[in-house]
Symmetry: C2
C-alpha cells in the first residue's frame, strides 16, 4: 500500500486483504529490521525458565449482543482459544474496554457478567483491566480487547503449520459457519426456519482431552475470521504442502447450510468461534475424532481432508457433487465486524 | 448507576466518575462474588513458580499524532510504565489495533514505526498483535491496546499504596502537566510562547536506578489520567493516611504553568505520560531525588510532600501563597481522550 492509500473495511476481514495490510504496512513498520515474530494465534515466550505463550485480540462485533452470546463471552472465549491453539494452558486474561458515550449501564453489565461467567467457568482469572470512553460517533457502543498468557504444555510439540507432514489428516471439531450466520441474521433481522446461534465457546477442555488421549497434534487453529478455508490455505502455504478437502465430510448445520445458500455464502469462509481445525498423523485420526465426539463441543467432529506432497500451498476441494475446485482464502470482506 | 443510565465522557476521566463506573458497574458485573483483584497499575500472577505482573491499557488519544509523540509510542511507553509501577521488569508486549476505515496507510506507518522504535529502545519485544477495522464513523482513525507482562523484581517489596508508612516522603520525578497541555494545545490549535510537548517516555531505566541505589520504594505510580493530585488522593485512601503536599515544590514547566493559568487548569490534575510518583522512607528521600536527577528523565525530581497519621484519605496542599486547601481527585472529565 502507498502512504496515501486508505485502510478499507476488507483489511479487517481476516483474509487476503488483511494479509496484505499486515505484510505491507504493519510488520515492516513495527519491525523494519525484518526480525518479525512468527504469525500464529499466540506467541511463545520464555521468562525465567518458564515457557509461556501470549496473545491479544480486539473485538468489535456488531451487534454486541447476538443470538448465542455477547461481545463479553466472545472476547474471553476467543482469547482462551488463541492461547490453547498456541499450545498453552490459559493462566490469566486482561480486559480492556473502549465504551462509546451513551452506552447503557445495563448493557455494559450484561456484557461484563457474560465475560466474568465465561472466565470463571473456564477457571481463567481476569486479572487486569482498563476502561476508556470515547464521544458519541467516535466508537460503537463497546469494543473489548482481551489479552492473555498461558503456560506451554510440557513435553508436547508446539502446534504449528510448519509441523504438518504429508499424510496428515485434517479434522474439524464440529459444524462450520454458525457464528457468522448468527451475527448476520441478527444484524440484518433475518430469521430462518431453525434459529442459528453463535458457537462461541472455550476449547481448552476439548484440547486437553486430545492430549490426554496421546494424540500428537501437529497444527491447531480456531478458524475465526476467514473461516475454515482461509486457515487451510494459510496452513498449506506455511507447510509447503498440498491439501485435499472433501466438502461432503465438512459438517454444516442444516439451518446454516440453508442460510448460506439463500445468501450466497460459502460456509467454509464464514467465521466460527467455538471450533478447531487440527492436523494429526493419519493413524491417529480416527482416535482423535472419537475423543472429540465424546466432548460436548466436539460431537460433530469429522476428518475433512489430507495433506500431501504436491503443489505447495494448493488446497483442492472435492465438491458435494464430486467435482474439484481450487480453494482460495477469503479475498476481501465477507461479513464486516463478525468478531 | 441504574441500568438505564448512560455512560458519559466523564466516566473515562480517570477520576471520581471513573472510580464510580468501575465500582458500581464493572467490578460487580465481572466479579459478582466480590472476589475482586486489587486495583493497581499491574496485577501480580505466579506461573509455574515464576512471579509475573500483567497489565493492559487501551489508547484513544485525540489527535493521534501530537507534539512530542504519537499514539504508538504513547501506548508502548504507557504499558511499559504500568509493568514497572507494578514492580515488574518488562518482558513482552502485545499490540491490538482498531482502525477506522479511511485511515491513511502513511499515518498508520508513522504510528507503528514509533511504537516499534520505542519497544526496541526499551528492549521489550512486541510479540503478538491483532488488527480490526471498523466502518467510518464507528471509530476514530486508530485506537491501540497494549498489554504486557513483566517479571517481578526478586527480593524487593511489590510497590503498593498499602505499603506507604507515616513519615514517608512523596517524590515526583519531574514537571507535571506536560502531556495534557500538549494534547490540548494540539487539539485546540493553541500555541504558546514556548512549545509544550508530551513527556511520553518509558520509566524502566529511572526505576532500575532507584533500586540499584538501594532505595526502598513503598509505592510507585505514573500519574496519567487524573494527574498527580488524583494519585495522591487514591494513595491516601488506600493507605488510610493523611498527606500534605507543598505546591511550591511541585515542578511545573513555565510554559505549562502559563497555559494552565490561561486555560483555568490545575496542573496537578493534568495527565502525565513520563513521570512517576514514589513514596519512600524519609531518610532515603534526598538520596532518591539525587539518583533521579542523574537520569535524563528525572532531572527535575523533587520531594513534594509527606505522609502522616491523621484523617485517613485527606490530602492537604500548601499553596504557592502559603494557604492550605483540601485536594480532591479529578471529579469528572477535564480533557477527554488524553491518552
Amino acid at each position: 500500500m502507498r502512504d496515501d492509500d486508505p485502510v478499507l473495511l476488507g483489511h479487517g476481514s481476516g483474509g487476503e486483504m488483511t494479509a496484505r495490510l499486515i505484510g505491507s504496512v504493519i510488520l515492516p513498520s513495527l519491525f523494519p529490521d525484518g526480525n518479525v515474530p512468527p504469525q500464529e494465534d499466540a506467541a511463545p515466550l520464555s521468562v525465567s525458565g518458564t515457557d509461556l505463550v501470549i496473545t491479544t485480540d480486539s473485538y468489535i462485533v456488531d451487534p454486541f449482543i447476538f443470538p448465542g452470546g455477547t461481545i463479553g463471552d466472545l472476547a474471553v472465549n476467543g482469547t482462551i482459544n488463541d492461547i490453547v491453539m498456541g499450545g498453552g494452558v490459559p493462566a490469566a486474561l486482561t480486559i480492556g474496554l473502549i465504551l462509546e458515550e451513551g452506552l447503557l449501564a445495563g448493557d455494559l453489565r450484561r456484557v461484563l457478567r457474560a465475560a466474568g461467567e465465561t472466565a470463571r467457568s473456564a477457571v481463567v482469572p481476569l486479572l487486569a483491566g482498563d476502561t476508556k470512553v470515547v464521544p458519541r460517533g467516535k466508537g460503537d457502543k463497546i469494543f473489548i480487547n482481551t489479552s492473555g498468557i498461558g503456560v506451554r504444555r510440557p513435553g508436547v510439540l508446539v502446534p504449528s503449520a510448519k509441523s504438518i507432514r504429508p499424510g496428515d489428516a485434517l479434522i474439524v471439531s464440529g459444524t462450520v459457519g454458525d457464528h457468522g450466520v448468527a451475527i448476520l441474521s441478527a444484524r440484518e433481522g433475518l430469521s430462518f426456519a431453525a434459529p442459528v446461534v453463535s458457537d462461541t465457546a472455550a476449547l481448552h477442555g476439548l484440547v486437553d482431552d486430545l492430549y490426554a488421549a496421546g494424540i500428537e497434534i501437529h497444527a491447531l487453529r480456531d478458524p475465526t475470521r476467514g473461516g475454515l478455508a482461509t486457515v487451510a490455505v494459510e496452513w498449506a502455504e506455511s507447510a509447503a504442502l498440498s491439501f485435499t478437502l472433501d466438502e461432503r465430510s465438512i459438517p454444516v448445520a442444516p439451518a446454516v447450510a440453508g442460510a448460506c445458500e439463500l445468501l450466497g455464502l460459502d460456509p467454509t469462509l464464514v467465521a466460527n468461534e467455538g471450533k478447531l481445525l487440527a492436523a494429526v498423523p493419519l493413524e491417529q485420526a480416527d482416535a482423535a475424532v472419537a475423543v472429540m465426539r465424546r466432548h460436548p463441543l466436539g460431537r460433530h467432529a469429522a476428518i475433512i481432508g489430507r495433506a500431501s506432497e504436491g503443489v505447495a500451498g494448493r488446497v483442492t476441494m472435492t465438491s458435494l457433487i464430486g467435482g474439484h475446485r481450487i480453494v482460495h482464502r477469503l479475498p476481501g470482506e465477507l461479513l464486516p465486524r463478525i468478531c
